[in-house]
């Protein structure tokens, strides 16, 4: 069995930042593996560890060479090898829409022929939350979005999942395989990479693939969405702020709380 896990290096914006055109200025960005993908990676690695059969876990990312350092962290946690899609045509693209990501990942799926694809529910940068289900539709796989429990019955050809709906309700669903499942945070406890894992990851393959390697041309990454403006949202706070040092702030808050009958007893 082969599991393909989509992973993405995402930038987190520091508390104070400046904009540089349609981007957050580079010096205010901290790069890391997308939080949801941590859980998707862990889920795939656990399936591989718990299976009696040989399970290969392959990570796929769309990202520049810089992202290899982040992708290697997934390799250190038990992913067997990785595929990195990048191309000059992607340099300087402000916003890669869901359709473009789907075209790129579909080509990788065709190449790799996995039995199961795991993605994160969303990426923490552009937050479309749509690539996994879009990919499933494109490659003819079944799917389930926002999965927070997974029981794989590979022999029976189904995955029994729980989908985390709003308001503390979970939906129990049976999904035919092959499938794409978008993984929610909290489904497992992502491990820390061991020193041995980190060492082993150095010799694991991260295969770079350009558009031509995937049988695609520049049209594949043409986005139907154009980013036209990026700005800091206006803060609308009309809160009463307590100033001073921590002691003074706490004292003022305590006064308000007592006045309103909190902690008065």
């Amino acid at each position: 069995m082969k599991i393909l896990v989509t992973v993405k290096e995402v930038a987190e914006v520091e508390e104070d930042f400046e904009l540089d055109g349609l981007r957050v200025a580079e010096r205010y960005l901290d790069y890391d593996l997308n939080e949801w993908d941590e859980y998707a990676v862990e889920e795939a690695v656990q399936i591989a560890e718990e299976s009696d059969d040989d399970v290969e876990v392959v990570a796929v990312t769309i990202g520049p060479e810089r992202s290899e350092e982040t992708i290697r962290m997934a390799l250190a946690k038990g992913v067997d090898r990785a595929v990195r899609v990048w191309d000059d045509a992607l340099d300087g693209v402000d916003l890669l829409d869901v359709g473009a990501k789907t075209r790129l990942l579909s080509a990788v799926v065709e190449d790799e022929d996995p039995d199961l694809v795991l993605t994160g529910v969303q990426a923490n940068d552009d937050s479309f939350g749509a690539t996994g289900v879009s990919l499933a539709s494109a490659i003819g796989f079944e799917w389930a979005a926002v999965v927070n429990a997974l029981d794989l019955d590979a022999e029976g050809g189904v995955a029994n999942v729980r989908r985390e709906l709003e308001g503390g309700v979970e939906e129990l669903t049976e999904v035919d395989l092959p499938a794409v499942l978008t993984i929610q945070t909290g489904i497992n406890e992502p491990r820390y990479a061991s020193l041995r894992g980190i060492r082993q990851a150095q010799s694991k393959e991260i295969k770079p693939l350009a558009l031509s390697d995937l049988g695609l041309d520049a049209a594949a990454v043409e986005s139907d969405l154009v980013l036209t403006d990026v700005y800091e949202p206006e803060t609308e706070s009309d809160a009463t702020y307590f100033e001073g040092d921590a002691g003074e702030q706490a004292a003022e808050l305590a006064t308000v709380l007592r006045e309103k009958g909190v902690g008065a007893q």
Binding site: G99, A130, V133, G168, V169, V230, T235, S237, Q249, A250
Partner: protein, 317 residues
């Protein structure tokens, strides 16, 4: 002229709030272009739902009597068939857990550009969508460089439509391809019904990512004790296993309306705010003065929780 097809949502016998917000968003988008707003109701008690959705601004309601509960395979086929039949310019869906379970497949199948989690829509000779990026730190506008599009709208951003109207209600039938229904909903379960009911508390001390380590949870527990309050949390704390699921406030957790909600080290992501914005008084303690939690707070302390909370405990112990 732009026609809009908006797809409503229901669960376990009731329409979801987002359905009525979709009517408002759809009516706005149709605006004065002279187009029509169509609603699609797929599954459930479609006749009762259609009656509830007979609202001003809606031109037609198309009911698809197929199954009791949401099934994404059925929804994708039904919406695709309606799209072929009605030829709308825009398809609007909810940016909900179920919305994200079928909308991307609808867009992919119909070869429509997809914009998710819209918080603003403008139809100005083309579609311009406002949405957030980088965990709500940045807002952006996105122009759709195509004649048609699929959009999911964020729940709670548009007012719910209330004014009654008289749309045409039409049963829509299409040939469901059963071989493409490859998932089955087998049940629902309420989660986190432990011994503490945070929805019942008058005062909630709620802790978020800013607490940094599991061992620091004790600090906010002490504050909750000193105030006679109940301890709740945002999602990351539950994801990390530091507090049980029944303590989680937010979209996927509980919706709470206490007299006082004291948010400690919680940035105020939209999913969290959805669960607590109805609190009578909101106190926010956070190091980041730009944290969105301050937008809805009544009282704010910009400061390090590790300095402020011990002082606060001292005030009450």
């Amino acid at each position: 002229m732009s026609d809009v097809l908006a797809v409503v949502e229901h669960r376990r016998g009731s329409l979801r709030d987002v359905s009525f917000e979709l009517v408002t968003a759809g009516a706005d988008l149709v605006g004065d272009t002279g187009g029509d707003l169509h609603l699609a109701v797929v599954g459930g008690d479609v006749d009762a739902f259609a009656e509830e959705l007979s609202l001003a601004g809606v031109d037609a309601i198309h009911t698809v009597a197929e199954g009791d509960e949401f099934n994404h395979d059925v929804s994708v086929q039904a919406v695709a068939a309606l799209y072929e039949a009605l030829d709308p310019t825009y398809v609007l869906m909810g940016n909900t857990v179920n919305g994200l379970d079928y909308a991307p497949a609808v867009a992919e199948r119909l070869d429509l550009p997809l914009v998710t989690d819209a918080i603003g829509l403008e139809n100005d000779g083309g579609l311009v969508v406002t949405r957030e990026m980088y965990a709500s730190k940045v807002e952006s506008t996105v122009e759709v460089d195509a004649d048609r599009a699929a959009v999911t709208v964020r729940p709670g951003e548009w007012d719910a439509a209330e004014e009654p109207g008289e749309p045409a209600v039409e049963a829509f039938s299409f040939d469901l391809d059963e071989s493409q229904v490859r998932s089955r909903v087998t049940g629902f379960e309420e989660v986190g019904s432990g011994d503490v009911d945070i929805t019942d508390a008058d005062v909630l001390v709620s802790v978020g990512r800013g607490i940094e380590e599991e061992e620091n949870i004790e600090l906010v527990e002490r504050l909750a004790d000193a105030l006679g309050a109940t301890l709740s949390s945002s999602r990351p704390i539950v994801d990390n296993g530091w507090l049980p699921k029944d303590r989680q406030v937010g979209q996927s957790g509980k919706v709470v309306t206490p007299k006082f909600y004291i948010a400690i080290g919680i940035s105020g992501a939209v999913q969290h705010v959805a669960g607590m914005k109805g609190a009578e008084n909101i106190v926010a303690i956070n190091t980041d003065p730009d944290a969105p939690i301050f937008d809805i707070a009544d009282y704010g302390i910009v400061g390090d929780l590790f300095d402020v909370v011990p002082e606060l405990i001292e005030q009450f112990e």
